[in-house]
């Protein structure tokens, strides 16, 4: 029983930490329609900055804030490269991501891996702060509070005039220009915000797993996309509060899938080495299903239209007869 609870708790905390990154990817890929690969670098930057700040004795809140700011900066660099050199966002993101790998190693003091041993982290403090809860619950409730806080802020932001105009840019850049808004500035802010959240997620992850790693970010974008797509199968909506909720649920489900893959995968000879392949296949399968779905619904609509027109014509013929 106790073991079962730890398992569930692990999945949820892992999923919730991951969900902040998924919300970040949701902003760049879905809301701004900007294929941003900075993520793979900025999540590790966030982890590195938070870890080094905590090791240096900064309060945890300050460490997380610094992680967020480092991500914002990374995102803004990608957007600036894209804006100024007029190169595709994809390439700009790859450039920043690659450069960040070296920067992350610098931040970690030229080490690939820095542990968070014998220092207070969020996850060692939470059981004290929430002492009225059993200690197993404290991490879960604490992370949930952080994620909900961020989610509500993001929901509010995308309902402000600025947030709405960002959504408009994702749908139609010309329209935003026609409203007298410089799309470059919107991208700077939007991609900055997106990577800020991703780095924040990295900062939490480092504390949860107890170390920061320069290779932390590898393949994170694809994992995030997989989570978004899993979420999109749950329900459809255009309301921002439901979009972020969907991202959080998708992140938790993805982590649960990975957990069970690790636990029972050996039965079908799957090892954690196969997870990147499986995640990629999951994304491709989701895209395929989404496409067949929309093709099926338009084929259905076509059939109905033909049936309607046939009915009209046969009706007319009968009249003539």
């Amino acid at each position: 029983m106790c073991k079962g609870f730890y398992m569930i708790e692990g999945i949820f905390v892992d999923g919730l930490v991951f969900s902040l990154m998924v919300i970040g990817i949701l902003i760049s890929y879905r809301i701004l329609d900007f294929a941003d690969l900075t993520c793979d670098g900025s999540v590790a930057t966030g982890a590195a900055v938070a870890t080094m700040a905590i090791v240096a004795g900064f309060p945890i809140f300050v460490a997380l804030l610094l992680a967020f700011c480092s991500g914002v900066l990374a995102g803004m660099i990608t957007a600036a490269i894209h804006n100024k050199l007029k190169i595709p966002g994809l390439l700009a993101g790859i450039l920043t991501m690659t450069m960040l790998y070296s920067i992350n190693l610098r931040i970690l003091g030229n080490k690939a891996n820095v542990p968070l041993l014998r220092v207070e982290t969020l996850y060692s403090k939470l059981p004290q702060a929430l002492s009225f809860l059993p200690s197993e619950w404290a991490s879960l409730v604490g992370t949930l509070l952080v994620v909900l806080f961020v989610k509500v802020l993001i929901d509010i932001f995308f309902r402000t005039d600025l947030g709405v105009s960002m959504g408009a840019m994702g749908g139609n850049e010309q329209m935003v220009i026609s409203q007298g808004i410089n799309p470059d500035i919107l991208k700077l802010m939007g991609i900055g915000l997106s990577n800020g959240l991703i780095a924040l997620s990295g900062g939490l992850l480092a504390q949860y797993q107890g170390f920061a790693d320069a290779n932390l970010g590898q393949g994170m974008v694809v994992q995030g996309l997989a989570a978004i797509m899993i979420g999109e199968f749950l329900f459809s909506s255009n309301r921002i509060s439901l979009l972020t909720l969907r991202a959080i649920l998708g992140a938790i489900i993805y982590k649960a899938l990975m957990f069970f893959g690790r636990k029972y995968g050996y039965l079908v000879n799957i090892t954690p080495n196969d997870f990147k392949l499986l995640t990629g296949i999951l994304v491709i399968a989701s895209l395929f299903i989404a496409q067949t779905r929309s093709a099926a619904s338009s084929a259905g609509a076509k059939k109905k239209a033909i049936a309607r027109s046939l009915a009209k014509h046969t009706g007319k013929e009968e009249e003539h007869a």
Binding site: T160, D161, V164, A168, N172, S178, N182
Partner: protein
């Protein structure tokens, strides 16, 4: 209001594809002018609009708008005072958002802040405005669900909402069926009158160009070959216009033969 001085636009200069799209154009638009622009395909009408709105930079010349030299100012800055509607109905609105979100974005021009302007009071206001195009009950529907005509009507409404000083209409009814084109055109006429807008409109319908507005410009091969206003314009007929074109350019206008024969 708008002054184009010696405007030249050359595409792909120095390559085999070099094309002189506009050749030393001079045009003065007075406040309150409603100008129809006619001309065959490739005569430079759209390029003229793209230069006025700032989509492309000019190769040579100067654009003065409302007393300011805007030749080097970017498109989004000019859009603060110039409203433009494209032929493509999908260009003016964001399909992934609701009508009310589109309208709140268009209500004020320029960079937005962290305020939530969309409240019930605004919704009532928008509802009232949408009545003129029959969309008053669809505030929360995504714009992607609307027909081309409805989208273009909404674009027009959103464009005049922010009270631009000048309206550029680039064949904005050409992609619509006749009934919707008529609705959008009636609306255009109404808004131009109601808000005393200065407007330039590209059209292929010559009878319409004669009836609408106070001034008519005909373009050919990157130059303005005819510029008539007032009485002279209202006395024009389509036959007269075609004859004028033939005399001026020594070629036939607006039929297949005209596209094939040069001089």
């Amino acid at each position: 209001m708008l002054d184009l001085q010696n405007i030249t636009k050359v595409f792909y200069p120095g390559t085999v594809n070099e094309k002189m799209a506009l050749d030393n154009i001079n045009l003065h638009v007075n406040k309150g002018d409603v100008i129809c622009v006619v001309g065959s395909n490739g005569s430079g009408k759209s390029t003229l609009f793209n230069l006025i709105s700032g989509t492309y930079p000019v190769t040579n010349g100067k654009i003065v708008f409302d007393g300011n030299d805007v030749t080097a100012s970017p498109e989004y800055k000019r859009a603060m005072t110039i409203g433009r509607i494209f032929q493509d109905p999908t260009k003016g609105t964001a399909a992934n958002m609701s009508i009310e979100d589109n309208m709140i974005t268009a209500e004020t021009k320029g960079m937005k802040g962290l305020r939530i302007s969309l409240n019930n009071e605004k919704r009532e206001l928008f509802k009232g405005m949408l009545e003129s195009i029959g969309l008053q009950d669809r505030l929360k529907d995504n714009v992607g669900l609307l027909s081309g005509g409805q989208r273009q009507a909404l674009t027009l409404l959103m464009t005049v909402m922010s009270r631009p000083k000048m309206l550029l209409l680039d064949e904005h009814t050409a992609a619509l069926d006749p009934r919707n084109a008529q609705i959008v055109m009636d609306l255009t006429e109404r808004f131009i009158k109601e808000y005393a807008l200065t407007a330039l409109m590209v059209t292929h319908n010559m009878q319409f160009a004669i009836n609408f507005g106070n001034r008519l410009i005909m373009m050919d091969e990157g130059t303005i070959i005819l510029d008539v206003a007032g009485e002279e314009k209202s006395n024009l007929t389509v036959e007269e216009l075609v004859r004028l074109f033939r005399n001026l350019r020594n070629k036939t206008f607006d039929n297949d033969e005209g596209l094939l024969t040069k001089t």
